[in-house]
């Protein structure tokens, strides 16, 4: 590109200003990226949801339990391939700050419904045979340095006082990007034995796998109709809709993130726009000379925009590199409070796109000013 030298020479005209602008851009990009990964973490349940899975909950609410007998009735509905059920255990491991999700699972059908959670067969078989058995996600096991064979006490306040002890029989992982590896599974049969009588023979929610995702609406309707006017009416929805509803329980996170993101965006726009405006104003006579010797209005606009985009691109890339270093640390520090924060390739690409867009937008006004500048008037200022 013939103008490369001119663009870069102008960029380095005021080195301190360049460094400060790039620095502020980089810091803002770190914040932007952090907000984006938090938003993505909250929406991950929706992103990784199976298109062929439905969730059945009690119409009253998630905390309301349903009879275990529903499983066979649901399985009988045409289009349903597998049915499994979960329960929320809600225990505490050593300290309340060590939060992680614990699910009471149905050993017989869980693997068929959730094939993305991979457990070695030998470990799974040991788990199935061991009523006090448990399986932990890879990330969770790494967090507490657990290994297969460890005995893990979990205190519960929901199902009687004291600690329930589990044998760690296996560790699962997932091949799905962004998949959750922080869960702890225990057996429903063991849970049902020890649970208080009021919650015996119940399930927290049912998860079913369909023959085809096309059957989702029909099957959901059939299930809800089947249990209509019963003591436990149901609400059936797709897994992604369920995950979206679950994320909303935390408040309007998306609105909060978008608001902060908007502030970051406009601040960046003002910082870079101001830098470019000052830069253009300082060399108005030089731009006038360029126009006098034959640079068209468009080439002058291009030069200003190119400078602005190069600044924002460099700042953006630095910010993203910084985010790549910082976010795993922040994620580790927030374990238990937030889902894992993952800086995925699409998010990195979004960050680069955001940087380029802000660069172009902030250079636009000064660029248009330079483009419309009258040569004669500008030369008279010298």
């Amino acid at each position: 590109m013939k103008f490369r030298r001119l663009i870069f020479a102008n960029l380095f005209r005021k080195k301190a200003r360049l460094v400060l602008t790039i620095g502020s851009f980089a810091i803002a990009l770190v914040l932007f990226t952090f907000l984006a990964v938090v938003k993505s973490a909250f929406n991950r349940g929706i992103e990784v949801a199976g298109a062929d899975r439905l969730i059945v909950v009690d119409r009253v609410g998630l905390m309301q339990l349903m009879p275990i007998s529903y499983a066979d009735k649901i399985r009988a509905i045409p289009g349903v391939k597998y049915v499994t059920h979960d329960h929320w255990f809600g225990g505490v491991y050593q300290d309340e700050k060590n939060f992680f999700p614990q699910f009471v699972i149905d050993v017989d059908n869980h693997r068929q419904v959730y094939p993305e959670f991979i457990v070695p067969d030998e470990q799974w078989n040991n788990f199935a045979k061991d009523r006090q058995g448990a399986i932990a996600g890879k990330r969770l096991a790494e967090r507490f340095h657990w290994k297969v064979g460890d005995r893990i006490p979990i205190k519960t306040t929901l199902y009687g006082a004291g600690a329930w002890e589990f044998n760690l029989d296996g560790i699962y992982h997932t091949d799905k990007e962004g998949g959750d590896e922080s869960q702890f599974w225990l057996q429903w049969k063991y849970f049902d034995e020890r649970a208080p009588s009021v919650i015996k023979s119940t399930a927290g929610w049912y998860i079913l796998k369909l023959e085809s995702p096309d059957d989702a609406v029909r099957v959901a309707k059939s299930i809800d109709e089947k249990f209509a006017n019963s003591s436990d009416e149901t609400k059936t929805e797709t897994e992604s809709a369920f995950a979206a509803g679950f994320a909303k329980q935390f408040g309007n996170i998306e609105f909060l993130i978008l608001t902060i993101g908007g502030v970051v965006f406009f601040t960046l726009l003002l910082v870079t726009g101001n830098t470019m405006a000052i830069s253009v104003r300082e060399r108005i006579s030089e731009l006038a000379v360029l126009k006098a010797i034959g640079f068209t209005d468009r080439s002058v606009l291009f030069l200003v925009l190119a400078e602005s985009v190069v600044i924002s691109f460099i700042g953006g890339v630095l910010g993203l590199l910084l985010a790549l270093v910082l976010i795993p640390g922040i994620s580790a520090a927030l374990t238990g409070l937030l889902p894992p924060l993952l800086l995925s390739k699409p998010l990195l690409a979004l960050g680069v796109g955001f940087a380029i867009f802000v660069g172009a937008a902030s250079g636009l006004l000064p660029g248009l000013g330079a483009m419309r500048m009258r040569v004669v008037k500008a030369l008279r200022r010298v």
Partner: protein, 247 residues
Amino acid sequence: MIRVDGRSDSQSLIRARGLNKTYTRAGEKIQVLQGLNLDVDKGDFVAFMGPSGSGKTTLLNLLGGLDVPSAGSVIVDGDEITHMSGSKLTNWRARHVGFIFQMYNLIPVLTAYQNVELPLLLTKLSSSERRKHVETALGVVGLADRMNHYPRQLSGGQEQRVTIARAIVSDPTFLLCDEPTGDLDRKSADEIMLLIEELVGKYGKTVLMVTHDPLIAARAHTTLHLDKGVLVEGSKLQQGVLAGGAR
């Protein structure tokens, strides 16, 4: 040959007819040029003199396509430039006009070589072809050994030489010099004038120059005086002054 009487001369390189330029300042109309006529042939070297505000720079701007007249026309080498669109006029300037300014107006962050190369970036010349042209232009102005120097590393006279090299590098039809020696000491001014004379004499360039300095103006083939927006040939002005004095 230079004429200011507006009599048709189709051989002229630059032909201005009935040039008017009016500015509005604080609601008041100021007529800078009034029905000005001018014919300049190829290879002419014309100096424009006159008091401040007489319209010298305005005239240069109109002839160089930097500004448009309120009325009248400018025809250069057969091209009527007064009705050209903005982008067409910009392209025309790139091909036909070399500008030399009083304050040099070099880009401080570019070397002498890079400054001279600027007009060539708008052409389709390859990098090696551009290098050849730039080295030739810098050789003509005697700065071949300073091509990698930045403007701040050059003297005023040398900076003006770089400006001249930038003006001639694309081999324009004519050069417009606005006070080319106005910011230089006498010795440097003399060197610049020798260079401009060489461009006219040896390379056949047409030069139109604005100056306040009669000694500088005297080195042109013809000096034209602008007075209240009207052009008067030097000799006629002298006659007018003499006639006024005799009364």
